[in-house]
């Protein structure tokens, strides 16, 4: 059920922070397994990298980079609230988070070319 407190920006930020964390926890073992393919030589790692050039995988790669940026910036927000009592400036802090995530996503897409 949607409570009044759930419509607040802080709740949405906390929910996105949590969901991005779960997504990263699922992704990490796969990422580690892919990198460990280097144990079988550069060719093995290259064959994995070739898979990442497929459009759908490339799109998911952008999603995971943005997810990482989201989780980091929203995590910094949590630390700022807990350590520096920035709660009353939620909107400003969230704007900085969104801007940072957009910048990371755009830079990643532009650099992919």
């Amino acid at each position: 059920m949607m409570r009044a407190s759930h419509r607040q920006r802080g709740f949405l930020a906390a929910m996105i922070h949590r969901l991005s964390g779960v997504a990263l926890a699922i992704f990490l073992p796969i990422h580690f397994l892919a990198l460990a393919s280097a144990l079988n030589g550069a060719a093995a790692l290259d064959s994995f990298l070739a898979v990442t050039r497929q459009p759908l995988v490339a799109f998911l790669e952008v999603v995971i980079v943005v997810t990482l940026a989201l989780h980091m910036t929203l995590g910094l927000r949590v630390l700022a609230i807990e350590l520096f009592d920035l709660r009353e400036k939620t909107l400003a802090v969230l704007s900085v988070c969104v801007a940072a995530v957009c910048a990371v996503g755009l830079l990643f897409i532009l650099n992919l070319g």
Binding site: V22, A36, M72
Partner: protein, 109 residues
């Protein structure tokens, strides 16, 4: 959440804030003009700073992620208690093992 887990979660969050920022910067730089295994391994092979940085990164992640998942599971599901703690301790070990293996793989290859 016990005080120790809370402290571990926040302490590793501070480490990860720095590590993820560096990692994102590295990703943005590394993917320029495409990425090959030779490009990656040229930077990582025998690089002691890489080994130390990503070794610490993996240790921090292996502590941070399972504690976060524990909070999510306890709040969103009915799963709690000893079996949940054991499952997430195993997940921590899985992340630590796979992560360190990956770091060593690109360091020695």
């Amino acid at each position: 959440m016990s005080a120790l887990l809370f402290l571990a979660q926040r302490a590793t969050a501070v480490v990860l804030a720095f590590a993820v920022a560096v990692h994102l910067g590295t990703i943005l730089y590394a993917v320029r003009g495409g990425l090959t295994a030779a490009d990656i391994l040229a930077r990582t092979h025998g690089n002691l700073w890489f080994l130390i940085f990503y070794g610490l990164f993996v240790v921090a992640v292996a502590i941070h992620a399972p504690i976060g998942l524990r909070n999510v599971m306890r709040e969103w599901t009915r799963w709690r208690g000893r079996t949940l703690d054991i499952a997430l301790a195993l997940f921590a070990l899985l992340l630590l093992g796979l992560g360190l293996r990956a770091v060593i793989a690109v360091f020695v290859s």
